[in-house]
């Protein structure tokens, strides 16, 4: 049954009748809202076939899927792979016993988590990306990498801290060195715990590739822009582009659920997973 069930009794006949009235009213409002949109589209001439045609022609479908979605996914994949490495380095750096390693790692992670991603991307692109620079695609990837990497650093740090202490103690007791304990004992367990959070972070990275729009990086939003630039069908394009994002993200979410069931079991996820799950990561107030 639904989770909210304790909040209200199983409705009696009068309540059922009342709820039925509410439901009908809600339906009427929703249908009216949809009708209003459709009527408006009709009035403004947005329902004509010409405006939908680009999304039914094979050439444009290919452009959308290959140049748009595929490049979006590519940027997200590069960014996430880099971010995992970055996150591992700085997450472990924050746990280091040496202050000269711990404090710089802390500063780097805090800085890139607090700065808006768009500000970072615009700065990277206009400083290092234009002309002979690294170009808009890699500017976008670099920005995503730094931001998601610092979020993942927090995730890894929390994950490593969440592995029961006895694990490290036992490893030290049988004579392992510090790096061995980290690599063979702590990290594999932490990554297993953190896998769903890492995949959720992929959804965030994938959504954030849309910021490439601001620096004309290849991707779904830029393709969308050129399509509505050509056909003047902004409304239709937004709907198609949004649906593509939603489809891919739902797929990723489904993957995260599957991974959790497969590798983590039904065990409750760690509370720290929120760092990755929460849309844009961001500073936790619990410091």
């Amino acid at each position: 049954m639904s989770s909210g069930n304790v909040l209200f009794d199983a409705p009696g006949p009068r309540t059922i009748a009342r709820h039925r009235i509410y439901s009908v009213a809600a339906w009427v409002v929703l249908v009216l809202a949809i009708l209003l949109v459709v009527k408006r589209m009709n009035d403004e001439g947005e329902l004509v076939y010409d405006k939908w045609e680009p999304f039914l022609t094979p050439d444009y479908i290919r452009v959308l899927l290959v140049d748009g979605l595929w490049q979006t996914v590519q940027a997200a994949v590069f960014a996430i792979l880099g971010a995992v490495v970055f996150g591992l380095v700085f997450g472990i750096g924050k746990l280091s016993e040496h202050a000269w390693l711990r404090w710089p790692s802390w500063a780097v992670v805090e800085f890139f988590r607090a700065v808006p991603l768009l500000l970072l991307i615009i700065f990277i692109f206009f400083t290092y990306g234009t002309g002979d620079g690294i170009g808009s695609f890699w500017s976008l990837v670099l920005g995503l990498l730094l931001y998601n990497g610092s979020v993942l650093a927090e995730v890894f740090r929390a994950g490593i801290n969440a592995v029961p202490k006895g694990q490290a103690e036992a490893a030290y007791a049988i004579g392992m060195r510090k790096s061995q304990v980290m690599v063979t004992v702590l990290l594999p367990q932490a990554v297993k715990i953190m896998l769903p959070a890492i995949i959720s972070q992929m959804v965030v990275a994938l959504k954030d590739t849309s910021l490439g729009y601001a620096i004309l990086a290849p991707g779904l939003t830029r393709i969308g822009k050129s399509i509505y630039g050509e056909f003047g069908n902004q409304f239709q394009t937004v709907i198609v582009v949004a649906s593509l994002y939603i489809a891919v993200n739902l797929l990723l979410t489904w993957l995260a659920t599957w991974v959790q069931k497969r590798f983590v079991g039904e065990k409750k996820m760690l509370s720290v997973s929120m760092v990755g799950e929460q849309d844009q990561g961001s500073t936790q107030p619990t410091r």
Binding site: S2, F8, H19, F111, L118, I122, Q280, T283, R287
Partner: protein, 217 residues
Amino acid sequence: MDDVINNFDLVLKAFWLTIQLTVLSGLASLFLGTLLGALRVGPISVLRQFASIYVSVVRNTPLLVIFIFVFIAAPTLGWFIETPFLLKGVITMTIYTSAFVCENVRSGVNSVALGQAEAARAIGLTFTQVMSQIILPQSFRAIVPPLVSTLIAMTKNTSIAAVFGLMEATGRMRYFTNNNADDRPLIFLTFALGYVIIVELMSFGASRLERRWQVAR
């Protein structure tokens, strides 16, 4: 850099706009998000499903696409044409953030012990009474930490408004870096520092509030 120092009032004005955008969208999303959260756990199945679909659609759409929707697509239907940019920005941020607030509220409500709701039901309180007098006050402490995360994320997200012509902090940075090619890193650091200060102040305030409520527990 001289340009930035001589025009520092523009920098302050830009951050003031960022703060306005944050506060207005924050309040609006708290209101709309709590309402949606209540529908999400409420007894009327149509509204429950509506809130659920709203959340999953909005959460999986990039904020930038919602910005395009409000700033570029909606005007082709004759909506939001005369609306000031600030208000359009607030509308966009509210559409997006309220979905996350809704999820925060839902998980907070689920965190309250079942017995509390059962007891309240047993003495005959209605759903609205149970929610407003028993569940929401108790779930408040559980909701606040993720809510602060959401609001801080929202503060940073307001930067996307720069793409659509709002001269808030990010838009202003872009303007300055365009005109002062040599000083880009310094200008970037100036503006980044502004965001860091806002974000740190928010999380500092939140952790103080949290400590106060912890004592009350």
